[in-house]
């Protein structure tokens, strides 16, 4: 940061959607921060999207409503957008652009960091293999999250993804280490009531102390949503790699981010890709998701749980589709379970954590974790088949063993999957519940678990 400022240009050629085209511009740089000043002296922030032929296209984060060609000026600040960071950001609430929203002053910055971050050197990346306990049985037991992983939650409109997100934010912890843990929570285009719920939920549980909140509500300008995940990740990277903390970043709802990207793309008259999203949606999403990870020789880690609501529950929609290519698995919420009143309504058969196998077992969770989890997955899958069969032939037509599998399905949903929103289960409790499900089966049906574990943990009825 220097005392040198930027040049202010007053020749506005065009205002188009969220974009302002400035004429006769010299020396503007791509991505440079711009201060737009209205006739009345109101200031809005923006960034350069395109420069050339004496013109600069500026994307205004706070929207162009009320701007006119005459009287508006654009000041090219001479630097990229930066986020002031220090340890003092913990416990703070910011808006979608990183400005305080809690009535407290700007944080006294240790550093000013470019919000686009620095790409991680692939060679320096460390393979994620340490368990994060979320306190949510189905995630810890069967879709285990590990430090440095990016594990999205695919949801649908109206489902309980935000309640789940808040629960994870409140309860998540690293076990077996004294390392500091922090949560960075970015709400992108959420309703005011949801934003308040997140804030209150963290405040009342005492978890706000170790959290940073970025709240962009639905009535905030859509373009601001492009920035929200980036400022959140900038803070997360600072906490992780400068202060050595393990940071869990929750981004909800990434669909709103993609919508904002589509809005800008349409205003720029770019050739649309699938469903009108820009052709570079994959690349753009990767610049966010790939900021998760661990680095060799550095203590901290950035773990990401992006949440996206699939339009019409369509998992082939471009947003979940492209997200799935980049991330390491997915947690899928099921509409049927949600309608039955199951919370969290996670459809385990469609969910997967690709890094789970490296984060569980002896030394991190328990030696029988992998096998008991596989057995329950298998049994629940069989239970679903039996339920379908019962729908055709009736319960009376089922064999004794089929009925046992139906029982497994019921116990799985009612006792293991179902959990109160404030219930924080330890990994031991979760594993014991998994064994309770397995123990509904006769021993000869248990084919995926070593005998020594069956002898040790099987619960005789």
């Amino acid at each position: 940061m220097t005392a040198k400022g930027g040049v202010q240009y007053s020749k506005i050629a065009e205002i188009k959607g969220p974009l302002v085209v400035v004429d006769d511009v010299e020396n503007a740089a791509f991505d440079e921060l711009v201060e737009i000043e209205t006739k009345e002296g109101e200031r809005r922030l923006g960034k350069v999207l395109e420069v050339g032929n004496g013109k600069a296209i500026v994307q205004v984060f706070e929207g162009t409503t009320g701007l006119s060609i005459s009287g508006t000026s654009a000041k090219f600040v001479g630097k990229l957008m930066e986020m002031p960071v220090s340890k003092e950001v913990l416990g703070r609430v910011f808006d979608g652009l990183g400005r305080p929203k809690d009535g407290l002053p700007d944080p006294i910055a240790d550093k000013f960091i470019d919000i686009n971050g620095e790409p991680m050197n692939p060679e320096q990346r460390e393979y994620p293999k340490d368990f994060i306990q979320t306190g949510v049985s189905v995630i810890d037991g069967m879709i285990t999250l590990v430090r440095g992983q990016k594990l999205p939650i695919f949801s649908g409109s109206g489902m309980s993804h935000n309640i789940l997100a808040a629960q994870i934010a409140r309860q998540a912890n690293v076990v077996g280490t004294k390392d500091d843990f922090a949560v960075v929570f970015a709400a992108i285009g959420v309703q005011y009531s949801e934003a308040e719920y997140f804030r209150r939920s963290l405040e009342e549980s005492g978890a706000l102390k170790r959290s940073v909140l970025f709240l962009n509500t639905a009535d905030d300008p859509a373009i601001e949503r492009i920035i929200t995940p980036r400022v959140a990740l900038t803070v997360a990277e600072y906490l992780a790699f400068d202060l050595g903390m393990h940071v869990l970043v929750i981004l909800t709802d990434m669909t709103n981010y993609a919508e904002a990207l589509r809005e800008i793309s349409a205003a720029r008259e770019e050739v649309p890709g699938r469903k009108g999203y820009p052709g570079y949606l994959y690349t753009d999403l990767s610049t966010i998701y790939e900021r998760a990870g661990k680095l060799n020789g550095r203590k901290g880690s950035v773990t990401q749980v992006p949440i996206l609501s699939m339009p019409s529950d369509d998992i082939t929609h471009p947003i979940p589709d492209l997200t799935g290519y980049i991330t390491e698995g997915q947690v899928v919420l099921g509409r049927d379970l949600f309608r039955q009143g199951v919370y969290p309504p996670i459809n385990i058969l469609m969910s997967l954590s690709r890094l789970m196998k490296d984060g569980i077992g002896a030394g991190s969770t328990r030696e029988d974790h992998s096998e008991v989890s596989n057995q329950v997955y298998d049994a629940y899958s069989r239970a679903q088949e039996v339920r379908a069969l019962a729908g055709i032939v009736g319960k009376a037509g089922l064999t004794e063993i089929d009925l046992k599998y139906m029982d497994v399905g019921d116990v799985f949903e009612k006792e293991f999957l179902t959990q109160a929103t404030d219930e924080n289960r330890t990994i031991e409790e979760t594993l014991n519940l998994l064994w309770k499900i397995v123990s509904k089966l006769p021993k000869n049906e248990i084919t995926k678990i070593k005998d020594k574990y069956v002898d040790q943990y099987y619960q005789e009825n």
């Binding site: 400022g5 040049v7 020749k11 003092e88 240790d110 549980s205 170790r210």
Partner: protein, 205 residues
């Protein structure tokens, strides 16, 4: 004969009654025995369940206590920190006000002319031309006027601006403007100055 027969049948009846009574007594005793052992067994079975229940109540209570402790400690820590932040900001604001007072009261002579020259050099370089209109406050007008000959094509505006010192430069066609007043420079450096002040108060590095 009838009397004898009656005596014999009475003793048989008594014998039968005794037998039934004995049998019933045995049955009752055996039932009591089995009920006792049954209840003993139930009691024995209930003990581990009770112990489990007891452990669960204790562990749930401990969890709840931990949760409440976290809530109380977390919110009071935050409250204390936030009060400290507000107090620090108030102190920083006081320092700023005092510094701005001192700057506005300082003499605009001596080295000040060099400062204005530096600001003019910087501004014309950034705009890429010396054909500019310069705006300044009434105090600095003479200083700027004395330097004007070094910038061919530059003019000083008759209008004055409200600032601590320094200049604002506008290209003659009016498309570009560069604010190089002391106010603008202080504003640009404010985050760094705040940090410096906070450090003096022993906060941060």
């Amino acid at each position: 004969m009838d009397k004898r027969h009656s005596l014999v049948s009475n003793s048989a009846l008594e014998h039968t009654i005794d037998k039934i009574l004995n049998q019933t007594e045995k049955n009752i005793l055996s039932n009591i025995q089995s009920a006792l052992s049954e209840s003993q067994k139930t009691l024995d079975n209930a003990i581990p369940k009770l112990e489990q229940e007891y452990d669960k109540v204790i562990s749930d209570g401990k969890k709840e206590a931990d949760k409440i402790e976290k809530q109380i400690v977390g919110s009071s820590d935050l409250e204390a920190r936030n009060k400290q932040l507000l107090a620090l900001e108030e102190a920083i604001d006081k320092v700023f006000t005092k510094a701005i007072d001192q700057i506005s009261n300082m003499a605009h002579s001596g080295d000040y002319s060099n400062l204005i020259k530096t600001l003019l050099d910087e501004s014309t370089k950034i705009l890429g031309t010396t054909k500019v209109i310069i705006y300044t406050n009434s105090k600095d007008k003479n200083v700027v006027q004395s330097l004007l000959s070094k910038y061919p094509g530059a003019e000083i505006s008759s209008e004055t601006i409200d600032c601590l010192g320094g200049i604002t430069v506008k290209s003659k066609e009016g498309a570009m403007k560069f604010d190089n007043t002391l106010d603008a420079r202080i504003q640009r450096l404010k985050p760094l100055i705040r940090k410096e002040i906070a450090t003096k108060f022993g906060v941060g590095n």
